[in-house]
Symmetry: C2
Subunit: 418 residues, 2 copies
Amino acid sequence: MQKIQDAMAIIVQKFGGTSVGTVDLIRKVALRVKYEVDQGHQVVVVVSAMSGVTNQLIEHIHNITTTYDRTEYDVIASSGEQITSGLLALALQNIGVPARSWLGWQIPILTSDTHAHGKILEIHTASLLQDLKKGVVSVIAGFQGLSSQGRITTLGRGGSDTTAVALAAALKAERCDIYTDVDGVYTADPRTVSSAGKIDQIAYHEMLELASHGAKVLQRDSVEFAMRHNVRLRVLSAHAERPSGTLITGDHEIQTSPQAIRGVAHTLQEGQITLKGLPAKPEILTLFHEMMKTAQIEIDMLTQDLLPCGRLMDCHFTALKAELDRTEEILKLSQKKLNFYDLLRNNNVAKISIVGSGLKYYSHVARKLFKKLAEDHIKVSLVSCSDIKLSVLIPANETEKAVSALHGIYELDDKGKR
Amino acid sequence: MQKIQDAMAIIVQKFGGTSVGTVDLIRKVALRVKYEVDQGHQVVVVVSAMSGVTNQLIEHIHNITTTYDRTEYDVIASSGEQITSGLLALALQNIGVPARSWLGWQIPILTSDTHAHGKILEIHTASLLQDLKKGVVSVIAGFQGLSSQGRITTLGRGGSDTTAVALAAALKAERCDIYTDVDGVYTADPRTVSSAGKIDQIAYHEMLELASHGAKVLQRDSVEFAMRHNVRLRVLSAHAERPSGTLITGDHEIQTSPQAIRGVAHTLQEGQITLKGLPAKPEILTLFHEMMKTAQIEIDMLTQDLLPCGRLMDCHFTALKAELDRTEEILKLSQKKLNFYDLLRNNNVAKISIVGSGLKYYSHVARKLFKKLAEDHIKVSLVSCSDIKLSVLIPANETEKAVSALHGIYELDDKGKR
């Protein structure tokens, strides 16, 4: 019984922009889809725009206006995926695999009305399931949906991953395979740490922390969605002959031996702001949080230092560098309200994060990090942690040294060789 | 009263691929739209793909397969117009003109299910009219519609002109302005006859004959549609400062002095086929016509010559060169049924046509043509005519000489200087 069910499983495959960057690559993708079809699976494919296409369209937009209507932005930006979906459907038909393209509005994939940042609300699967039963591969334009106003929406960066995961959830797919240009999730960025190794299996919440703190292979949103809907995610290379990739699942499925730390992530995308000498009152922090929320600025690593006088504090936090100008402006406009006497800013920082369930159980795991960084004379300016993640802010020019050192002390170097 | 009505008139403006070929040109188009808005008009704009875009997409398709599914072809080929519609909407908003883009499926523009050659069946105008009343310019992606199956269709070559004319009819527009890269309809192709002049006004049926016989400025389908629905068409330059163009209307509106011949058209797109020694029976010709109809091959200039024996005939006709291989193949497969003994083919021919109401009333107008061609030693192999058109087939290398000569004898040279 089990075997028959497996054979009829629905598999969602997602191919990113570099995997469908040319017509020749699209033909190769078609063969990979055919492979799953030949295994007896019902296959749904989600495609991105051919690499470069969307950027060129956005350049056109910027050449017209910088303060653009996001509704029209979506009409333009969604066309790249439309093209790829048609081309891949043709490439599949050409090798004898029945296939048809689907656009977001045709399925439909209903989203919020927040253009350029749509959230998937509902997917009508009836027509897709009908096609799948007939043995027709559905080739779906990723990144796009339909608003309540009947307009095209897009899902924001990495949106095609989200499309794939949401479809896998809606179709109760056996697995969602994200094909990309790397062969899986690594213990650290291989461009920074040459001994970094591929992780075979990792739990949703660990992957979520890695993705949130610098691992670029998957968007945080899609991992979160997969976790919430229990979609088995696989990240694998579109170029490898027989890719094995990284499987991202619930804790219970993880078969590899438990490891204290699963990986080291880093990001140079954030900058630090310090507000000097605020009144040490809860109302002030509440006001600060409300201001940031209203402005939709995501802050991280928030820390307060009570000054010796006991009535004032310094307040430190990080935010995306792209948002720092805006953040500074908003805070300076409210200097009287918040009652701080100075604002300092530091762009030359890196956030290094270690992620793993070990942090939850063993206090020495965290201690090791601080000991090592002190030995190596790397100054830590801010610290923040969750159950399974510990982040430190250090000088940007120490990034490689710190990541490599931590990768070493948590025995991740070995992992790469296995 | 009349004035108020005029001021509220709906104007449809259509811009072709070269008029929207770059972002800078799109910005210029926006100014031209604004000009009509500033006159108090309600404006609907139809756009083509930026020049080169659709060809590149079709090249992608051909690199995958030559025998493609036209349903997917339409998904791909329709994306160029989608992009332009969004960009022009942004460019209009940027100069303070409220605007939004509309795709074929959003309006919807319902078409036949004949993919890549869709015919417009119905246009739902309610939403457009609502927007127009609010003073919002509708920027519509041309060339596309929606099939009864909910798939995207395209309308075939020149389809954006048809979109514009159909919209003008459905919206009861005051005028449909087709902006292109020439400043109107000419008495002959100016690249062939340097003294050719712009025609200020011309009747639908005359324009239809010119378009059917080689004048490339407008597609025959869109002129036919305009005639059937009495849409006042204007062809004008997108690049000129104050374009006057050519107005195409019903006979009753033509104010210029009547002229025997309005223009000389020519085409090198057709080739000649001769079937030798067919039985001179009506059944044979009926069978031949049915075969061509089934194969969707449009034939032109069909002529039969009864041979001296009285029982056999030679049959000559022309068809598009692009279709000649297929035509020859179909005929040869039926050689026994049609009972001809040989098939001759001539690709080196040109069809020259004179068009004008004068042909209907004065027999000397036609005689002049044959006299002139004979004087100039230009051999006429086939002749065909309608009420207001006379076409002759001549050797291709005599094209320029013949067109110039006819342009001269019908006093069209003067027209250009006025």
